[in-house]
């Protein structure tokens, strides 16, 4: 195929398609036109990005993984860290094993994306060309959404919704809290990272209070009236924590309207709460690079094609994980991992000039309501009318009337899942 023909087709098809046509066959490692194999850049080395980078590498693609941090700190099981059931060190994962797969790892903050020139810019000005770009930047916290809850407030009232220093801070605050103290925990409206996460956190804090500070109380303020695994959580709370946990849904004034970190007060339309420890989980949006790339819509999240995870706004850019609008699929590590593998296969197919197949994806999220008491929600998803929808008749929550042995088994599976997935992702 002559260069001229490729260029004619390039204008017809766009870059990636012509790159695919330039390949002699499905063997991606084979040098293409002018000796360059297709290059994929992945931004974000979390559950989504690290999985995608590994899967692309396994498919023979030339992959560069851009991740700002040298060590990943995982959110799943960080609620256990907050109440002293697990050390923070069990949340940390390095990138050495991933790098050994032969991908190029760049520890840097990606600050720019030029979708028409197909280039990523890093903080130091370096540019990385790509044929396809995968974004898995996770979330940014909207520190303008709750009046009073700005960048300085997070030191007094941690969100602990990105694991690391914030997790350790909330753990220290709970440990140091006076005997008869009050904890206020606020959950945001949908959508946000880890739908059952605030309720698992509430459960484990209630467990901590019950066993360590029995005169203390937890007030859970919710900006909505319904939530994930609600019946399971609420029946467990009634049985285990009737004296510790007070749940205030939106209808009873659960929406936080303002906070004052200096006075440690949390306000709602109906009341003002004085907290000894306040954990505010603010509304969120896709990690900033998604908006910079033009892949986020006005909701702050990224609309995607459910077959390829390619952005509906910017061709050549795929978005996976928390940043994506994945329809019925929740923003979870399990989802991010499953999406990454489907996306990587679609990218490999597109680069090889094949049409990707229609996928199915699974999610399972475990929550602990107490040590040895696990519950789960599962789902199977497929593309319907341009969105990922539940496969009807599948999925759902653990039985509400299950015996203690089932709760124990699910707590064991929760820990097994964490060990297995982190090994699959970070190797």
């Amino acid at each position: 195929m002559s260069r001229r023909l490729v260029q004619t087709r390039r204008s017809l098809l766009g870059n990636a398609a012509s790159a695919a046509l330039a390949l002699a066959g499905p063997g991606l490692a084979r040098p293409a036109l002018a000796g360059t194999a297709p290059r994929v850049v992945v931004i974000g080395g979390g559950f989504g990005g690290a999985t995608a980078a590994r899967a692309l590498r396994q498919g023979g693609v030339d992959v560069t993984l851009v991740e700002a941090s040298g060590t990943y700190v995982s959110c799943p099981f960080s609620n256990e860290v907050i109440v002293g059931l697990q050390p923070l060190s069990a949340q940390r994962f390095g990138y050495d094993n991933l790098t050994r797969t032969g991908l190029t790892r760049v520890q840097a903050n990606a600050t720019g994306v030029d979708p028409s020139g197909r280039r990523v810019t890093l903080a130091d000005g370096t540019t990385l060309p790509y044929d396809r770009l995968v974004l898995s930047p996770g979330i940014d916290l909207r520190l303008d959404a709750v009046p009073g809850y700005g960048a300085e407030a997070v030191a007094a009232m941690p969100h602990a919704w990105k694991a690391g220093e914030q997790t350790a801070l909330l753990a220290r605050q709970l440990e140091a809290m006076p005997e008869g103290g009050t904890v206020v925990l606020s959950a945001p409206a949908n959508p946000y990272r880890c739908p059952p996460g605030p309720y698992e956190r509430a459960s484990l804090i209630a467990h901590f209070l019950k066993t360590r500070k029995p005169r203390a109380k937890l007030i859970l303020l919710d900006a909505k009236d319904t939530f994930s695994k609600q019946r399971l959580f609420q029946s467990a709370w009634a049985a285990l924590y009737p004296d510790q946990l007070e749940y205030v849904p939106l209808a009873s004034g659960g929406q936080v309207t303002a906070v004052e970190p200096a006075a440690m007060t949390v306000r709602t339309d109906f009341s003002e709460y004085k907290a000894d420890v306040a954990c505010i989980i603010p509304p969120q949006r896709a990690g900033r690079i998604a908006a910079i790339a033009g892949a986020a819509d006005r909701s702050g999240w990224c609309p995607i094609d459910p077959v390829t995870f390619e952005s509906k706004l910017v061709p050549g850019i795929h978005v996976i994980g928390d940043a994506a609008i994945a329809g019925a699929m929740p923003k979870s590590a399990f989802s991010a991992n499953a999406q990454a593998k489907v996306c990587a296969q679609a990218v490999i197919d597109l680069l090889a000039g094949r049409a990707p197949e229609e996928p199915k994806l699974i999610n399972t999220c475990y929550s602990l309501v107490a040590p040895g008491y696990g519950i789960s929600i599962a789902g199977v998803f497929h593309p319907v009318n341009g969105l990922l929808a539940d496969v009807e008749g599948a999925g759902g929550i653990s039985p509400v009337d299950a015996p203690a042995s089932v709760r124990e088994q699910e707590a064991v599976y929760a820990a097994d899942w964490y060990r297995t997935i982190t090994r699959e992702v970070f190797g």
Binding site: V307, A338, R354, K360, T420
Partner: protein, 103 residues
Amino acid sequence: MRLAARVRAVPALSALALLLAPAPTGATEGRPPPGATSCTGCHATGAAMQPISGRPAPEIAAALAEYRSGARPATVMNRIAKGFTEAESQAIAAYFAQGGPER
């Protein structure tokens, strides 16, 4: 219909699809069948939850069928297996019998 949905979303792909053979259904050209790549988040080799790579295909397919019908007790696999048809389960079973992602 499936193609039409994609045509709108991915212009480059739609143009490609005109030039290249359309995607067949099921696992083809060594690609994992629908749903298969989600499994290893729990069932990877060395995992506590039943590693499945390298297990005989009839064994995996039968397990999925029994989870689906409720004949085999489960905590979550009953909820997950209901999301797959018998044909899809067979394809997943064949994929893992051949080694799954470690082929």
